[in-house]
Symmetry: C2
Subunit: 338 residues, 2 copies
């Protein structure tokens, strides 16, 4: 039961999301049905606004983790569908509130909900989906699942507030940055995976292994996301290129470039992150500096470390289609954008 | 087991919150301790922002309902303290999000949290408290309580979105208005009361009675709140006088004055609610028109109807200190502001 190893001598790790999509395709149809059913309301603005985001082409990676985890541990029931929908509702509520918090214009390549429907409705529909998520969990009836997901929700909010506090603070350390992404992103990945082991009544060891798979995958995923915002080779993304830069978010590429920069470069970063140099030319300069210090590549290298830990966490499970799909997905997470 | 009757031949109903405060004083100390404990976080901005609102002199009426309900049904355990704190967290989260939605400047006579800490942090700390609330409920462990409070939370969000949809719509009916306040306010009053019967394992009839007490009290409470915003005799309030008017909120005083007004008055209301006449002079004119048609008095009369229904719902319980305190509180709810 050894784990697969990312081939470090290759230019980029390989990987594919296809096996994961195939593994969960049937289940995701049922999850999508629950999502569509439960975002309905007698107040028409609610399904309109929720549907704008939910139909907006998200990857639904988090609910997929619950379904893949259930396959991995050989769970034969149907509880994962409602719970995966609950996970996606928490994520969707977070995205809606994020768009308000960040003042985003774009989300998944489309106008963000707050641009079309305004901040007030976006905040409130987020609250609605969040409540619906807890209704779904309550219907499922596992207090252990409720504990895991309500705990993860509180940690997500804490991470988002912490990120807000670190915004425009050039002296943010890599350690603090890692704590923020563990909270705002990895906590839900971990919970989504872990609950599969809970409903299947697995051993603590298996529960812990699925938690670690999700948690490390979440960190890897966010690292790559943050790298892509400064990647001179990246294809156009759903969100506005340079959003993190203009918002003065302290992500790892900036932390590394600042640490490795000379006095003049550091002066630039202080001004830029402080909000005094945010033009397109400034963004180009930021990308050039990040490139000079290999900060995007090294951020991706950090991501590979966490992806490998995610894969290693699966080593306690026997080889299976599910385990291979989850391994491929972790490799894919760090290969995105090439 | 007859219910007390509001003396309709008197100028104003009497009532006092004092018996309710005395009844719940000891319990509220424990609730406040839970609130203070559970709003803590390693991210310092969270207790700072939450504490600004929580220490800001709220009445804590909703958690008090849970405690009073527990007394009424002779519950002898301690579960009500955590659950009452959960109720207050839901309410606090809603207030924080409301302040962002309404763009409020004042809350309880102090600068609103969003003015001091900004909209982003206010949204996120609301999310944190909402998550904490579900953590508290999960610790309590009653799926029935979780169902009641997650259901109420979804209904509150629906009511808030519905209110947003009705904003600046002069043709909003009294019926729609009632549906909105039942959802945005009364649902949590009902749930806060009802869960006392759940933890005490009361009969369905008693559970239903406490639900109806809270629900009708909540409607009465909101009606009076909406009346006070246009009451020419009202003392200065915590929130900005005329907020509802400037935001184009369709509350009952406006609905009644519009329905009873002549062509010229209706033209004024259309312009005012449409957002084209929102000066201080316009507010004075609105108050004068509302006064001319007795719309504040009649809104309060509607409130008395619901307060009486709340009191009557208690008639299945034997007379007791708790029942008297809850009766007095309902009378007080409609006597506020005189």
């Amino acid at each position: 039961m050894s784990a697969d190893v990312i081939p470090l001598n290759r230019a980029e790790p390989e990987g594919s999301i296809e096996p994961m999509l195939a593994l969960t395709a049937q289940g995701m149809n049922r999850v999508n049905q629950v999502i569509l059913d439960r975002m309905q309301s007698e107040v028409p603005l609610i399904p309109a606004l929720a549907g704008h985001l939910i139909a907006g082409g998200g990857k639904r990676l988090r609910p997929m983790l619950t379904l893949a985890g259930a396959e991995l541990v050989g769970y034969s029931g149907t509880r994962q569908h409602k719970l995966a929908a609950a996970v996606e509702f928490i994520h969707t509520a977070t995205l809606l509130h994020d768009d308000v918090v960040d003042g985003s214009d774009l989300r998944r390549g489309k106008a963000a909900a707050n641009i079309i429907y305004g901040n007030p409705a976006t905040v409130l529909v987020g609250d609605f989906l969040f409540s619906r998520s807890f209704e779904l969990m309550t219907e499922d009836g596992s207090l252990k699942v409720l504990k895991i997901l309500s705990g993860a929700s509180a940690i997500i909010a804490e991470g988002e507030v912490d990120q807000l506090t670190a915004q425009r603070k050039i002296d943010t350390s890599e350690e603090r940055y890692l704590n923020i992404i563990r909270a705002k992103t990895a906590a839900l990945f971990a919970a989504a995976s872990r609950i599969a082991a809970v409903i299947a009544e697995c051993s603590d060891e298996q529960e812990q292994a699925l938690d670690e798979y999700g948690r490390n995958l979440g960190v890897a995923f966010q690292l790559v996301d943050d790298a892509l915002d400064y990647d001179s080779n990246a294809a156009t993304m759903g969100k506005d290129r340079g959003d993190d830069f203009r918002e003065g978010k302290m992500t790892l590429p900036v932390i590394l470039a600042y640490a490795r920069g000379d006095e003049e470069e550091r002066a630039f970063w202080k001004a830029a992150i402080g909000g005094f140099r945010t033009s397109d030319d400034d963004l180009e300069q930021a990308i050039a500096l990040i490139d000079r210090h290999g900060a995007v590549d090294d951020t991706k290298l950090r991501a590979r470390h966490f992806a490998q830990r995610a894969i290693d966490a699966l080593s306690i499970f026997p080889d299976s289609t599910a385990r291979q799909a989850m391994t491929q997905a972790a490799l894919f997470a760090v290969a995105r954008g090439y």
